[in-house]
């Protein structure tokens, strides 16, 4: 079925468009370019290109900037002290922030549902790493709660991807985004709540504790990546 589908879509498109057949979706527009890796064909559209530039910018900021040093003032006196971040922690957090940025860019470019879920899980685990590096009981408690959420979030993600494959026979977004293929609501819901758990974008309940952690801009990478990947999954779910 998918072969016929690809063929029919390609036939209706100009030949110069692409070999995979795309896909004028409602919110993202025509694919700008495609990057094939075997069965997985990554692509960027005007919408995802904007997200990609955002992710790239913040990764570069994480790469070149020095961490902030929080200042605590002592109540009732002139004394103040700056929190020192050890070299080891700094290097580790910077590595994790860059890995997180790369994972975000991968997730934004993903042209395959399962590949997208893997990149999302990758973002989840780098986020845990960034937060867990801070040596503070409250923040570690939070990192643990987040980690649990990221771990159980893999269930909706993978079950969602498996359902997409089971009901349509393909994982490629190039085919899933065509109007001929219908993805059940259940699979879409699973993907969205999976990303919520991994990316943690709308779950701001426990964020207060984490923003208190020293180590910006690396800590900020947690927020940026989760926001961008959430925007991306909404786009995928609407287009499917």
């Amino acid at each position: 079925m998918y072969e016929a589908m690809t063929a029919s879509v390609t036939a209706s498109m100009p030949v110069s468009e692409s070999a995979y057949g795309f896909t004028q979706t409602d919110i993202e527009g025509q694919a700008l370019f495609s990057l094939p890796f075997g069965d997985i064909v990554n692509f960027l559209t005007p919408y995802t290109a904007v997200l990609f530039v955002f992710a790239l910018t913040f990764t570069i900021i994480a790469l070149i900037s020095k961490p902030e040093r929080q200042v605590d003032t002592v109540m009732g006196g002139d004394a103040y002290y700056t929190k020192d971040i050890s070299r080891e922690t700094l290097r580790f957090q910077r590595f994790m922030a860059i890995a997180c940025g790369l994972a975000t860019m991968g997730g934004i470019m993903a042209g395959d549902v399962f590949n997208f879920t893997l990149f999302t899980a990758f973002i989840g685990i780098t986020n845990i790493g960034i937060v867990a590096a801070v040596k503070n009981k409250h923040i570690l408690d939070n990192a643990f709660e987040y980690g649990l959420l990221a771990m159980i979030g893999t269930l909706p993600l993978f079950v969602g991807a498996a359902l997409v494959l089971a009901t349509t026979g393909t994982l490629s977004m190039w085919i899933l985004f065509t109007p001929e293929v219908a993805v059940p609501l259940f699979a879409k819901l699973l993907l969205v709540i999976g990303v919520i758990a991994e990316g943690m974008a709308p779950v701001f309940v426990a964020k207060a504790e984490i923003t208190r952690a020293p180590g910006a801009p690396y800590i900020l990478m947690v927020h940026v990546s989760s926001l961008l990947i959430f925007l991306r999954v909404i786009e995928i779910v609407i287009s499917m």
Binding site: F37, M96, L185
Partner: protein, 154 residues
């Protein structure tokens, strides 16, 4: 009404309830899933990629996908054009695997894990990007664990 809001926000403000709240959301979505199965919305698409065929008489059972060393097997990939050498990895048998075939007909699973075979074709070539991400996840997770472990040792 106010009482209910107060009670709900008391649960939500505690970060220790985060997983419980999320578990509730997943249970609700799973219930929606049950309803949509009952409504017949979720049907299995029979035309799947990389279908499984089983030939119990073959010594490569259950992974006999045809082909032989340096003769490609017929693989139903998503975009066969993107990997021109498709089928060669599936067909390949190392000398060791060839020897195993002659010993016993029950080594199919060992042979498919040995270099060559359908799973290697999917994992390394046609969906190799998945494996890249997967090993990177393992790498990052171990880095985190070792970082915390070493810091404690000091």
């Amino acid at each position: 009404m106010q009482l209910i809001i107060r009670k709900v926000s008391r649960i939500l403000q505690n970060h220790n309830n985060l997983t419980a709240v999320y578990a509730l959301v997943v249970i609700i979505v799973a219930a929606i899933g049950l309803i949509s199965i009952a409504a017949g919305e979720i049907t299995f698409e029979k035309d799947q990629l990389y279908p499984k065929t089983i030939n119990p008489d073959s010594p490569l059972n259950p992974y006999d996908r045809g082909g032989s060393p340096f003769v490609p097997a017929d693989i139903k990939a998503q975009y066969p054009g993107n990997f021109p050498a498709i089928g060669y990895i599936t067909g390949y048998l190392s000398p060791f695997a060839t020897a195993l075939i002659k010993i016993s007909p029950y080594f199919g699973t060992t042979i498919v894990a040995h270099p060559g075979g359908i799973l290697d074709e999917i994992l390394y070539a046609t969906r190799g990007l998945d494996t890249i991400v997967e090993t990177s996840i393992l790498f990052v997770a171990f880095t985190t664990a070792m970082f915390l472990f070493r810091r404690d040792e000091e």
